[in-house]
């Protein structure tokens, strides 16, 4: 069973580029197209909280370092 993870996205830093969404292996991210941040940009959010496996693909590819990644304790460490 893969690790269980959790991500936080800094909405103001997010530019809605969609790269994290495209890169998530479990498809748990999405772009919120019903709202914008104060720069008028759509932003990404964790759509399926349960599916995140803390793979860090999203945080690695996110150009704007908008994503913080957490992992359930007691699981083996992973490196970026």
């Amino acid at each position: 069973m893969p690790a269980k993870g959790y991500v936080e996205i800094d909405i103001e830093r997010c530019k809605g580029c969609d790269l994290c969404v495209l890169s998530c292996p479990t498809d748990c991210l999405a772009l919120n197209i019903s709202d914008t941040n104060s720069y008028g940009l759509y932003y990404a959010y964790l759509k399926e909280e349960d599916d995140c496996i803390a793979c860090m693909n999203c945080s690695v590819i996110c150009p704007d370092a908008a994503i913080t990644v957490y992992k359930k304790e007691d699981q083996p460490k992973q490196r970026s």
Partner: protein, 181 residues
Amino acid sequence: MLKEMVFAGFGGQGVLSMGTLIAYAAMKEGKEVSWFPSYGPEMRGGTANCMVNVSDEAISSPIDTEFDIAAVFNIPSLEKFEPKVKKGGILIWENSVIKKGPTRKDIHSYGVPAIRTATDKLKNIKVMNMVAMGALLKITQIVKKESVLTALKGTLPERYHHLLPLNRNALDMGFDLIKTK
């Protein structure tokens, strides 16, 4: 008389061409005109704007610091230009994205749901600027509606001329959004 105007929003919202159409239309109506865009890297991610002057006489500087008319399409632009509208001037703001409108009481301000109208009624967000333009014309009578349509024909490349009816539509719709004269 000189009218100093600014059109501001995100890049891509069509604010530059809105200004161009007004300048072109006014030129065709025999006025002196100038059009001056914000340019360079500040546009990136930030706002774009253009300043348009229309006058019966030669225009001095194309760059204005205060405006008779401002039309703004996002929050940063509202923040930037609200304070620069002249006392008694006109501020038109897009009220489907800007939630909190202007606060000044010494200017005439008009909230116009240009984006909502374009997306909901016309199914094409691109003509948002023409909706706003319609409203602006109704409010300011800066140029004639027909002149704007001529301008559109004059500035749009031939291959896009099939879009003219849609644009006229948007213009009319915007015009009609403004109920009071």
